[in-house]
Amino acid sequence: MDIFHNNPMLAGVRQMLGAFAKQQIRPIADQHDRDESMPWDLMKMAQGFGMTQTAVVDGRKALTGKDEEGDAAKPKSQARIGCAGSEELAYGCAGICLAIGGSGLAASPVARMGTEEQQQEFRRLLKGDDDHGHIKVAAMALSEPSTGSDISGLSTVARPDGDHFVINGHKQWITNGASASVYVVWANTDPSAGRAGVRGFIVARGTPGLVPGRKETKLGIRASETAQVHFEDCRVHKDMLLGGGATSEGLSDTKKMLDSTRPMVGAQAVGIARAAFDYLVERVQGGTMQGTPLAHHQRVAFELAEMEMEIQAARALVHKAAWMADHNMDNVRMASMAKAYGAKVAQDVTSRALTLLGEEALESGHPVEKWYRDAKIYDIFEGTGQIQRRIIARSIFGVNPT
């Protein structure tokens, strides 16, 4: 397993994005957390560095310089690169990492299920700047006000009407929901068929009936926008039905799409934990308690030892899940473990770091306080902690995990 060796490609990604996180992301993280604003300038800069909004569709060619599509059986490096990179960006700021990579959620079903024309259209819709001079971003709209974990309960409907589908429904907590230039929306084309009728559509901003809604004020990851999106008699041409309908497996494809991003989400959580850990180590090295260096107290030193064990264990799970994906192995159980354990470690490490830091870290926007707030989302989105455990448990008992 190459994570234990010096894989030059992964080391390169780590180094490049690690430096980007420290030099570009960290200095502005607090401001965007306070303002609850997207870091548009930085996103543009990241785009220039190859972190494009269409990277997933492009097969990460921009980052690696290599086109990895083609021979499906050959091992790839995409998943591992994605994890190494995500950890580094989230080490800088998880909210900004999600702002930079948020479009990937929409790009991933397009890459997985979209036809060549649809992929081209998706790329076209994300070219250039939007009306505000910002880079264009995409949103993936699956969740609804009353449907989060149980996506078979979707109530958004896409009614066929000649060459079009007419979409009606409300989407909730959509990343980039207010600002996106293109949406991938999931709707039921045949409610009588239940979950089998669920399909994805590419919908361009400005399409009549597509109404970006209210932006949420959140506990954490405030640099990443979350908003409602409404569809009111929104007419979408049937060409924009992902995969042309015939080849799509509908909802099960949606679930596979989430499986494929899970290790990366776990990697982001590891990045947060590592950020808090490094911060604490630095403070401990400079600090004293009643005249004795903090590091001489086992109360503190052993906490750090414990955190380091947890972080390393979480990272090993993340990389194993990614390595399996890159080697075309079924990684559903491992991906869920990586995501759920990463979330747990990020929450544990930030919480314990806060307790050790005491009063100073009660300040709103103190780095560790912010990371503590950011960490919580990793147990909620992309499948809650309970849903991950449900997948793991089902897989243990040999039941189809998703």
């Binding site: 503190v300 919480s351 806060l354 870290a361 309970q386």
Partner: protein, 371 residues
């Protein structure tokens, strides 16, 4: 042994609960967003006897006879159910008032009680890491360094300070006019008018030193006992509140064809939180009961130990309960329209104020060992 509240305690619990359900909960979200308590709080809570309940009657307050920490814990638990930030403001005068009433000079009593009777606030700070620079100055002290951040210091006129001058513990009343006060924007308890106070060779006259040496060590143990009991009681209230919201939501929210509250893993989260909250409440009440009965070194040590244990548990339980309440609400838990993300932020101060309780407990054992 009798675990029932007496008539007076029951009346207090009911009165504060009504106040919390009618006013405090209604104000909590706005106060959190604004970072300030509503101006009405002072008048309404004042009518209910807050702010002056630990000031002797003879000095313009309402305390006639011994103070009851048990009653305070009962009301603190109810206040915690409402809003941790407002609760901190309503409880802030108690330690300074009791300490000055017990150990203060006539001058200290006049200064503090005069200010409190006129509607002023006081607060409590502790130099838990020993970073203040304190030296003797004739009979008084000179203090350099930063106090806080602690609640109410943004507006308080006086701070009850627990610190050390060299090897000697001291307990002193600091006039904030002698330093630079700065507001502090906290993550939680945002209604509590937080602040810091920077002192530069500020002089603390002898009359404002409540105790020093071994007497100060004893007095500090008592002040910390009061404070930690109150913290623990309020924390249990916050945990209860988190689970009230979670239970209501879990009963209504349906996923996979049934209320999410029927899933065993969520029942377990709620049950653990309820168990923890019940344990902390009892520990806080028991520690309060002991605090009311301190009469010598051994009862003082026992009360402090009980309060410290209550607060260790309180910090863990309220953190877990509020994080799990957010979890139970899922995506809604993460957004500010619902009350639980505030509770998660509010939980942190219970473990972080006045230093790390686990560290305190370890250092206490090492001191006994002569290390």
């Amino acid at each position: 042994m009798d675990f029932a509240l007496d008539d007076e305690q029951t009346l207090i619990a009911q009165t504060v609960r009504r106040f919390v359900d009618k006013d405090v909960r209604a104000w909590a979200a706005d106060a959190d967003r604004a970072g300030a308590a509503p101006p009405r709080l002072t008048a309404v809570a004042g009518d209910l006897g807050f702010f002056l309940d630990a000031v002797p009657e003879a000095s313009g307050g309402m305390l006639d006879g011994p103070y009851s920490h048990l009653r305070r814990a009962v009301r603190g638990h109810e206040l915690g159910r409402g809003c941790a930030g407002m609760a901190a403001l309503l409880e802030t005068n108690v330690e300074p008032a009791l300490a000055v009433g017990r150990w203060g000079s006539a001058a200290a009593a006049e200064a503090l009680f005069g200010s409190l009777s006129a509607g002023g606030l006081a607060t409590t700070a502790r130099d838990s890491r020993g970073t203040l620079d304190i030296s003797r100055d004739a009979d008084g002290l000179r203090v350099t360094g930063k106090l806080g951040p602690v609640p109410a210091l943004g507006t308080a006129r006086h701070v009850l300070l627990m610190a050390r001058c060299g090897d000697e513990p001291v307990l002193a009343l600091i006039d904030t006019a002698g330093g630079r006060r700065a507001p502090f924007v906290p993550s939680g308890w945002r209604a509590a008018a937080w602040g810091t106070l920077t002192l530069e060779a500020a002089s603390v006259p002898a009359a404002m030193i409540l105790a020093r040496g071994p007497a100060a060590a004893d007095a500090t143990a008592e002040v910390l006992t009061w404070y930690k009991v109150s913290l623990a009681a309020r924390a249990a209230g916050v945990a209860v509140s988190a689970m009230e919201h979670a239970r209501k939501y879990a009963d209504e929210r349906v996923q996979f064809g049934r209320p999410i509250g029927h899933f065993e893993s969520l029942i377990r989260l709620r049950d653990d939180a309820d168990t923890g909250a019940a344990a902390v409440r009892l520990m806080a009440l028991h520690a309060a009961w002991q605090a009311d009965r301190v009469k010598d070194d051994s009862t003082r040590a026992a009360a402090h130990d009980a309060a410290s244990r209550a607060r260790v548990m309180a910090g863990d339980v309220v953190d877990r309960a509020t994080v799990d309440a957010v979890q139970i609400l899922g995506g809604y838990g993460f957004v500010n329209d619902y009350p639980v993300e505030k509770l998660m932020r509010d939980a942190r101060a219970f473990a972080q104020l006045l230093g790390d309780e686990r560290f305190d407990r370890i250092l206490a054992v090492r001191a006994q060992q002569g290390a």
